[in-house]
């Protein structure tokens, strides 16, 4: 619906511009001049490196830039037979799903609270984004401090009620979960704010009408609100999971992939392979494989949850 209106508006405005031909020629010239710089930067920093990652992945390069020769798919076979690769992929799966669930729950409940009237909701709409604004390194250090076994406030508070959490970032059994929680603290405001914005686009009349028809709050929510905001939830889910999958800084700054590899997700594996093990080609092959997996997952996700056209 909205897309159709936009298209119509675009056509109308293009028609209105038609009279002066010379003017539109000058406009197009200015337009291309304005767009060129970003295209050049993207080609240089994104497109070229992507191509070069693919070529590197078919070589046997060790230290970045060192001489190497073409080996075809041998590097890929190496990576595929590396158990650490599969372990990292599995951890990334856990990372992705757990982050999504925690942030969806936090984001939705926060958005519902932000929507209410009153001073708390009004002020919270601004300060709730603070965790997202805090630099990741600060997030990492502040949680290490609060969970510190000797002096940490969170540790002490839990200890006071009889829960000994030990040293969560140092314990292989819980480290991944602990980093996921910290990362969710950092990122949930984004979902909260976007969902809040989405909820605000639902016309109040529709909600009122459902109430008049005798629908309860839950019913109204599931059969009116959710379908209406589904397109936004779809975009948030897709972009959010891609971002989330690729996170390296939160993990590296807290545990650097440890203890004993317990938090080595795919990005950490690639980073370590390139810069600690100095095997550039392996790192490149692993990341090409990862991108392939991501593309497949994104397509499946789009198939399953894309909003129906023109409802």
């Amino acid at each position: 619906m909205a897309a159709t209106i936009n298209r119509l508006a675009a056509t109308v405005s293009r028609r209105r511009q038609a009279p002066s031909r010379r003017r539109s020629g000058r406009e197009a010239l200015l337009g291309y001049a304005l767009v060129t710089p970003i295209v050049v930067v993207m080609l240089l920093v994104i497109a070229l490196p992507v191509v070069s990652a693919v070529t590197t992945s078919m070589q046997d390069q060790r230290v970045i830039g060192s001489p190497s020769s073409f080996v075809g798919f041998a590097t890929y076979l190496d990576v595929l037979s590396d158990r650490a690769f599969w372990a990292a992929l599995g951890r990334s799966g856990i990372w992705l799903i757990a982050n999504m669930v925690v942030q969806a729950v936090l984001g939705f409940s926060t958005a519902l609270l932000l929507q209410r009237s009153g001073w708390w909701s009004r002020t919270a709409r601004t300060w709730v984004v603070l965790p997202w604004v805090v630099p990741t390194v600060a997030v990492a250090v502040m949680w290490q401090w609060m969970l510190n076994t000797n002096y940490g406030i969170v540790y002490k508070m839990l200890d006071a009620v009889g829960i000994d959490i030990g040293s969560p970032f140092g314990n292989p059994a819980v480290a991944l979960g602990a980093v996921i929680l910290v990362n969710s603290w950092h990122w949930f405001p984004l979902s909260a704010v976007v969902i809040y914005g989405a909820l605000a686009t639902v016309p109040t009349e529709v909600i009122e009408a459902a109430k008049v028809d005798g629908a309860g709050a839950w019913r109204t929510f599931t059969s009116i609100t959710l379908p209406l905001i589904q397109p936004i939830l779809f975009a948030l889910g897709l972009v959010g999971s891609l971002w989330s999958f690729n996170i390296l800084d939160s993990i590296y700054l807290i545990t650097a992939g440890g203890p004993a590899g317990a938090t080595t997700t795919m990005p950490v594996y690639v980073y370590d392979t390139a810069f600690s093990a100095f095997r550039s080609s392996r790192a490149a092959a692993a990341s090409v494989l990862t991108v392939a997996v991501l593309v497949v997952l994104a397509l499946v996700f789009a198939r399953l949850s894309r909003p129906k056209e023109e409802v």
Binding site: S20, P49, G197, Y271
Partner: protein, 275 residues
């Protein structure tokens, strides 16, 4: 809309919990930075500092390289912001206002490239920067940062540009203004909130960026805060007051900036996502 069967008491409780989760850690970092060496490691933590001291900050700025990291981060962040602003304003204006032929495809390609994972690029980017002699330079970091901020900022500006009425352009054209003057004198001034939003986003991105800064900068005199601060944590691991002072100074600029334009930023994000 009322949340599914939330009655007043659980709702108040939820508000309280959310407030503590969000504000609590920030409060704790702040007061920890002002506590004395003895107080910060007391077995029963004090909720309000009793020994209010600035000694952690003194030590941070006199005994560590923190001021150098701060300067490097400021240079990289300001550079990234300026270049991002130029690129994304140009791109957004050309794509969404002048609507150059083929613009839709260019816009889609730019946005799509934003979803390519940084880890895929880090190996080839390193060789490329080495070829260009940009390893260990501010320019190298700025160039890489911009490639990651400019696409998102172009998209953020879309909502702001669409909200400036096109009638203005025509009125300007009737008055004899060319496209360049129309852009500079009519449309740009109306984009002030969008410009503020984009500036904050790119500044914060560069200020926070860890992955590229950790590899594309080698000498310690060029390091930015994310790497510098984590090095200080490793070095002064028992001196938590000092570490918290460093953390506070790292997060303060982003929060202050956000305080000024946070409303626009959230608005722009929502407009972009829902339009």
């Amino acid at each position: 809309m009322s949340g599914p069967s939330l009655t007043a008491l659980p709702r108040t409780l939820a508000k309280a919990v959310l407030t503590i989760i969000v504000i609590g850690p920030l409060y704790w970092v702040t007061i920890s930075a002002f506590k004395g060496r003895e107080e910060i490691i007391r077995s029963t933590p004090t909720l309000v500092p009793e020994t209010f001291t600035l000694s952690n900050f003194e030590q941070l700025f006199q005994a560590t390289d923190y001021p150098i990291f701060l300067r490097n981060s400021a240079i990289v962040a300001v550079g990234t912001t300026v270049v991002t602003l130029l690129l994304s304003l140009g791109a957004a204006y050309g794509l969404y206002r002048l609507r150059v032929p083929g613009g839709g495809r260019i816009a889609a390609a730019i946005l799509l490239s934003y979803l390519i994972p940084g880890t895929l690029l880090i190996v080839p980017l390193y060789s490329m920067l080495a070829d260009l002699q940009l390893i260990d330079t501010y320019a190298g970091l700025i160039l890489v940062n911009v490639a990651f901020t400019a696409p998102f900022c172009t998209w953020l500006l879309r909502g702001f540009i669409l909200s400036v009425p096109r009638d203005l352009d025509e009125a300007a054209a009737i008055d004899g203004a060319g496209p360049l003057r129309t852009m500079a004198q009519i449309v740009l001034p109306l984009l002030a909130p969008g410009i503020a939003t984009v500036s904050v986003y790119s500044f914060v991105f560069a200020w926070t960026e860890f992955v590229f800064a950790s590899q594309f900068v080698v000498s310690s005199s060029m390091q930015t805060l994310p790497i510098g601060l984590s090095a200080i944590v490793g070095q002064y691991t028992v001196n938590w007051g000092l570490v918290m002072a460093g953390t506070l100074f790292t997060l303060l600029p982003t929060i202050v900036l956000f305080a000024f334009v946070g409303r626009h930023f959230v608005g722009g994000l929502i407009a972009g996502a829902t339009k």
